[in-house]
Amino acid sequence: MPDERGVIDLRVEPPPLVVLDTSAIAVALLEDQASHSEYSAFLLRAIESRTTFAYCELVDLELAQVCSKRAREQHGGDRSRFVPEGRRLIADVFARWRAITSQTQSVRMPLGLSDIPNVLGSPVRDAAFGLIERYGLDSYDATHAATAIILGAPLVCADRGFAYAPVELLTIITDSAGVDECRRRRARS
């Protein structure tokens, strides 16, 4: 599978360690999304080959937001209806997400590290800051990209915005529809 401009098709053989972005996780969980079959197939192959899944703790908040926003859209902003529906969706999605991460070795990476003894500061936070400052990434994208860069692992993502992270630092694994677009973005930047 070619690694042109640091962008790899999801059909690649899963490496020993990958970082998962919220966009990839959400598409893998939601079977009516366009690239669902590609992401779910990759994760299944990764579990089969004992790949370690790493993800930034920001994933928790973003997955919850997906559920809340969807419930809000469905109920026209009626808080008395969308909040309970959002809560129900969150419970369903997180049960499924836990069911995926618990089938292989996994690690949820804290952003601040204050809860890890003997480790001061956060290389992830510093790297994210640098990606915003030097390459213009949005803060949330920068955080996931920094997680992968610090671990030296590829980032599995459906979001094309990650293509703006420098090719020398970040390898992207994405769906077949996104490969060319990500390469074009990197060629222009």
């Binding site: 994760l43 973003e62 995926i100 089938q103 500061g121």
Partner: protein, 66 residues
């Protein structure tokens, strides 16, 4: 990895502190959780079930999660 990190220092100053990076990676190693019991086939089937049956009803966009 060493080559990438060395080149990365110029691109991202956060990569310049090799000691901090090493401490962080060791800490991350300790946070790793082991998989549930079961054969590979059983674990794949549980993950497959987790990724089946949930529909969003609309195209997911970055505005949903960012």
């Amino acid at each position: 990895m060493a080559t990438r990190a060395t080149r990365g220092e110029d691109l991202l100053p956060a990569l310049a502190d090799a000691a901090a990076l090493e401490r962080y990676r060791k800490a991350v190693e300790e946070l790793r959780r082991s998989p549930d019991d079961g054969s590979t086939e059983e674990r794949v089937e549980r993950a497959r079930a987790a990724m089946s049956g949930l529909r969003f009803g609309a195209p997911l966009t970055p505005s949903h999660y960012r």
